[in-house]
């Protein structure tokens, strides 16, 4: 089995795992849930007040998603840069030996 085919099959499973909940739990909110975390803690200890605030919070959901997208883009950019680089190096050295 070719590397590409093998990885595409694996990727298929990953996509299925991500898409399945959307159908399975149709009515769920799929919240980012940071707010709910505090609720659960308040439930356990109603007197608790967070003693520290974030230095800076993204002013809106749009800007937050921009930053998350940026994080993913930077990360995947480097991951694929490396994978492409090593593939190129590999095929180059193979040609050298031939």
């Amino acid at each position: 089995m070719k590397l590409f085919t093998k990885n595409m099959i694996i990727l298929g499973f990953v996509v299925l795992l991500a898409v399945f909940p959307l159908y399975f739990a149709k009515d769920a909110e799929f919240g980012g849930a940071d707010g709910e975390a505090s609720e659960a803690i308040m439930e356990l200890n109603a007197d608790y007040t967070p003693w520290f605030e974030s230095f800076w919070e993204p002013p809106s959901g749009e800007i937050e998603s921009l930053l998350f997208a940026l994080q993913a883009a930077l990360g995947s950019g480097f991951v694929f840069y490396y994978l492409g680089y090593s593939r190129g190096k590999h095929s180059f050295s193979k040609r050298d030996q031939a």
């Binding site: 089995m1 590397l3 093998k6 990885n7 694996i10 990727l11 499973f13 990953v14 795992l17 991500a18 399945f20 909940p21 959307l22 399975f24 739990a25 009515d27 769920a28 909110e29 799929f30 919240g31 980012g32 849930a33 940071d34 709910e36 975390a37 505090s38 659960a40 803690i41 356990l44 200890n45 608790y48 967070p50 003693w51 520290f52 605030e53 974030s54 230095f55 800076w56 919070e57 993204p58 937050e64 930053l67 998350f68 997208a69 994080q71 993913a72 930077l74 990360g75 995947s76 950019g77 480097f78 991951v79 490396y82 994978l83 680089y85 090593s86 593939r87 190096k89 590999h90």
Partner: protein, 277 residues
């Protein structure tokens, strides 16, 4: 179809993989229904937010984190000094954690959480190296995204950068020793490392917020149920993605992989030095 199955049977290794997947699918369905019965409500699973650990616990986890960070810096320095050409691979391991931490993926519990991506680097560079890289990712998210926090950085680094990698490392080594195929060792290591990260988060929250009835244990179990269940499909996703990357590395970066003692397990005496010192 017949041709396909013949091709599959030619590779016994792949057959094993298929069987494993079938078993996993079955288990997953059982799990899904269990979850739906127990937690029909919207739940959450992520890092501990800014200010949401009492001062003493925040300080405790900061202190607990420090030795691992120091060991990690030393380990990275040593790797880079011994093999300067591995710098890019190290960067890639960090970038992998960076991108996976940004992907909030829906789970069957009806909320979203994200993978951690530290398993890959752990198997390449050893667990403490990933403490450092994981901490960098967490700092970025705490400062720019108000996700996690600086006061809770110690606790979050401890779960994602210490416990997760240590578990992944132990599982990887153990399964390899037992003679499991490499893809399975990698998959289980990344998956369980991810899962244990969130189990640790639940323990940290449980310790800090004991339930009025049942105390610490009841509280831990409550958080654990929520966190661990949401995380299961994501942990599996992380395991699969990690196997994907290793497939590519095996094909194109064989030479780099052979140098990495943490990965091959050869030369154990230098391995210990490489990881700890």
């Amino acid at each position: 179809m017949i041709e396909l199955s013949r091709r599959l049977s030619e590779r016994s290794c792949f057959n094993l993989m298929e069987i494993g997947k079938l078993k996993r699918t079955g288990l997953f369905l059982v799990y899904v229904f269990a979850v739906y019965m127990v937690f029909p409500d919207n739940v959450y699973a992520m890092h501990i937010m800014e200010g949401f650990l009492p001062f003493n616990w925040a300080a405790f986890w900061w202190i607990a984190m420090v030795p691992f960070v120091i060991a990690g810096v030393r380990s990275i320095r040593k790797t880079v000094k011994l093999h300067p050409n591995l710098k890019m691979l190290l960067g890639m391991a960090g970038a992998f954690a960076f991108v996976l931490s940004a992907l909030k993926i829906p789970s069957v519990t009806g909320s979203c959480s994200h993978p951690t991506g530290v398993g890959l680097g752990t198997m390449l560079f050893g667990p403490t190296a990933m403490t450092v890289l994981g901490m960098i990712v967490l700092i970025f998210q705490a400062l720019l995204l108000a996700h996690g926090g600086i006061t809770t950085l110690g606790a979050n680094t401890f779960s994602m950068g210490v416990v997760g990698p240590l578990v992944a490392y132990g599982i990887y080594k153990g399964l390899k020793k037992l003679g499991a195929p490499q893809w399975l060792s990698i998959f289980m290591a990344a998956t369980l490392g991810n899962l244990m990260t969130y189990v640790t988060t639940s323990i940290q929250l449980g310790l800090a917020f004991p339930a009025a009835t049942g105390g610490i244990m009841a509280s831990i179990l409550k958080f654990m149920g929520i966190f661990a269940f949401t995380q299961v499909p994501l942990a599996i996703s992380e395991g699969l993605l990690t196997v994907m990357v290793f497939n590519i590395l095996n094909a194109y970066s064989k030479r780099e992989l052979q140098v990495l003692t943490a990965f091959t397990g050869k030369a154990i005496s230098t391995l210990k030095g490489g990881v700890k010192a």
